[in-house]
Amino acid sequence: MSDETTERAPFRNPGWAGNTGEFELSEDEVRGRSYVGEHAPEGGHPSRVPTVPYMLPEKDPEAPLFEGPYAERFEKILSRYPNRRAALLPTLNLAQELRGRVSPETMAEVAQLLGLSDAYVRGVATFYTMYNKRPVGRYLIQVCTNVSCNLCGGDEVLAAFLEHTGTEAGEISDDGLFTVMEVECLAACGFPTAVQINSRYFENVTPDDVPAVLDRLREEAS
């Protein structure tokens, strides 16, 4: 991308992998610039670009599987695979995007949709850590404490998030907004500490940044 042309131009689909064009996101939202401070507006590391927003901020645990645009997306997923069983992972993704987590009921419904056994879907869903088997807050804050981030203070960042949200790791804060958890490598080792909040990446996060980030999220939620 050229520096001059993109600075103030409306965001254009750069064609990154996984962008299906189904989301109307502004460049700011994609870059996450306003959340992480002083970063060059033309972007930086591609990890700041969300691929699939695997969880919507507005979640409805009771949302039907799948209706309206989601039904279309589900059909689209099915069309990409040789059989329904192969479509299990993206279908679970879609269900989690919609409902915020993969509950036992969701597993059973997905099994029904794909003609698989309930037990098999449970086996797959529990194998992958990015499916939330338990309820999470509106913002799922995943703090990397793997090697690079750990060396640069990932544990302190995690502690700061826990302190300022007033929760235990994996729990939902009292206001229902935040769940903070520790994750392994987010593939942003060049920008420690990396934090993923829902589908957005926050890089070079220090414990001092944490209150500002949380305030911004609270503001967004209100």
């Binding site: 059973a108 037990a119 098999y120 449970r122």
Partner: protein, 536 residues
């Protein structure tokens, strides 16, 4: 695999210096087994697919860059396989150390102890001392419903149970949940395997003590159990099974491999119906009933007196047989009835409302006929009466005035006045009942579990079984009792063994001709007639 060297598609290879010729497509593990060399393995089971994930059966193949999983590597001509080489042994020791990293050492309270593959393999090739200093992960135990209990800590993740449920039972309720060292076998939350009619097999194929039977839980140690080969008496499928016996009591039933009848499996219906073999209320000695006064007797006295009664003159004979009796017993009854001038023989057979096939091997099915030898009775010209409960049908016989002989049928549904109008009422059986105990001559017989014999299953396969229990008191096989009586009447020889009794049976029924105990062997033999499936 005896004549496979003659088949064109055969392959010759060398395993540990010994040449072996096997059909093309055989795996190294199977070829080694043909030589009597059992390569350690967990995930491989001959009745299931092989994912080659346990990494225990790795062997050295000359020319291969690394060790090969013998359970899925097909043999090739001229292949040189080393199962005991330094590299192969070293790697097995290493893999076993990993298996023990999380496996609890609770052998003293584990039901599998004594027949546990982990125990065996570690004893043979494991390290003398473990080096792991980490705490073991703990799962506790989970009730899978039905008869199945799961001890997660003992599991070695071979996934045989998962594959059995997927491939054979085709009821995919088991799966691997979570990952890494948190992985565990589970069902969909609280679903369990209850109601799956073949789920008991996952206990059999579990190589360790992870899946255990609640019925057998802490009941007996594996090394105290005698394994007695027999045939499951609970339906006409005739699954080959072992009675596991301790203290003259059947503790459990386990399937015995017979690829043509039941492969490696048996149904839960059959598996859990063994308690009646342990019944203590038995007819233990011959009883002669003289004008309402039962007098215990011994065999020579009772048979002598009975012979006298028969000599006095025999009214027309009618008999009741049991489909739980062996071919030999039934033939001896037919022989005796013929010797007394011939007569009708009926039998009653409980019948289920449906078959329960094993989807992955539909030749195995819990048949509708809930007795092992209805076919044998049919072959010997007996007629089926009564209802699907195995009751009724004997109203006419209850007040019969001629000579009445009952073999085996407990007559549990009948009143004490059964046979009271008969000129002579002979009862040969194992368990007393009001209707039986009034017999003029009450003669104790062994159950199938206490004698040698054969059953004819639904497809006409004659299969042998062997005694597993000591008979109580003076109980004797019915073929011996009835054979002795018939011999006294006709002056022929008394069979001295079940094999001889079978020869006599073959004289009565052309279907059995050409078969001997030797030719039937442990695998059974189909009788020489076109197969007509009952209940079709």
């Amino acid at each position: 695999m005896a004549e496979n060297s003659q088949t064109p598609e055969s392959v010759t290879l060398t395993i540990d210096g010994r040449a072996v010729t096997v059909p093309k497509g055989t795996t190294i593990l199977q070829a080694a087994e043909a030589l009597g060399n059992r390569i350690p393995h967990y995930c491989y089971h001959p009745g299931l697919s092989a994912p080659a994930q346990c990494r225990l059966c790795l062997v050295e193949v000359e020319g291969a860059p690394k060790l090969q999983p013998s359970c899925i590597t097909e043999v090739q001509d001229g292949q040189v396989v080393l199962t005991e080489s330094e590299e192969a042994t070293r790697q097995r020791t290493g893999v076993l150390e990993f298996y023990l990293a999380n496996h609890p050492l609770d052998c003293p309270i584990c039901d599998q102890s004594g027949e546990c593959k982990l125990q065996d393999y570690v004893h043979a090739e494991g390290r003398k001392h473990g080096r792991s200093r980490e705490p073991k992960r703990v799962f506790g135990r989970d009730d899978f419903g039905g008869d199945i209990l799961f001890y997660g800590d003992r599991c070695v993740m071979c996934t045989r149970c998962v594959r059995f449920m997927n491939e054979m039972a085709q009821d995919p309720r088991l799966t691997v949940v979570e990952r890494g060292n948190r992985s565990i076998i589970d069902t969909f939350f609280e679903e369990g395997v209850e109601g799956s009619p073949y789920a008991g097999n996952i206990v059999d194929i579990c190589p360790v003590g992870a899946l255990v039977s609640k019925d057998f839980l802490h009941k007996a140690r594996a090394w105290d159990l005698d394994h007695k080969p027999t045939i499951c008496p609970n339906c006409s499928q005739g699954c080959n099974i072992d009675l596991h016996v301790r203290d003259n009591r059947v503790q459990r039933l386990k399937p015995r491999a017979n690829l043509e009848v039941n492969q490696y499996w048996m149904c839960d219906y059959g598996r859990h119906r063994y308690e009646w073999m342990n019944r203590d209320d038995r007819i233990e000695s011959p009883v002669v009933n003289r004008s309402g006064q039962p007098v215990p007797s011994d065999w020579s006295e009772a048979l002598e007196a009975l012979h006298g009664r028969l000599e006095e003159g025999v009214r027309p004979v009618k008999a009741v047989a049991s489909p739980f009796a062996s071919n030999e017993d039934l033939a001896a009854l037919r022989h005796l009835v013929d010797a007394l001038g011939g007569g009708e023989i009926v039998y009653r057979l409980p019948r289920a409302d449906r078959e329960i096939p094993l989807p992955g091997f539909p030749r195995l099915s819990r048949r509708r006929d809930l007795a092992p030898n209805g076919r044998g009775a049919e072959i010997l010209g007996m007629e089926r009466v009564g209802d699907d409960e195995g009751a009724g049908g004997l109203d006419e016989l209850a007040h019969y005035t001629g000579t009445l002989v009952v073999l085996g049928d407990e007559l549990a549904d009948l009143e004490a006045d059964f046979g009271q109008q008969a000129a002579l009422y002979i009862y040969v059986g194992s368990h007393p009942s009001p209707a039986a105990s009034q017999a003029d001559y009450l003669l104790p017989a062994t159950t199938f579990a206490e004698q040698e014999g054969t059953f004819t299953n639904h497809e006409g396969r004659v299969q042998r079984f062997w005694p597993g229990l000591q008979a109580p008191g003076l109980a004797r096989p019915a073929w011996l009792v009835l054979g002795a009586l018939a011999a006294r009447m006709e002056g022929g020889g008394v069979p001295t063994s079940a094999a001889e009794a079978f020869v006599q049976a073959a004289e009565l029924a052309p279907e059995f001709q050409g078969l001997t105990y030797e030719s039937i062997g442990t695998r059974g033999a189909i009788i020489n007639e076109p197969v007509a499936l009952p209940g079709a």
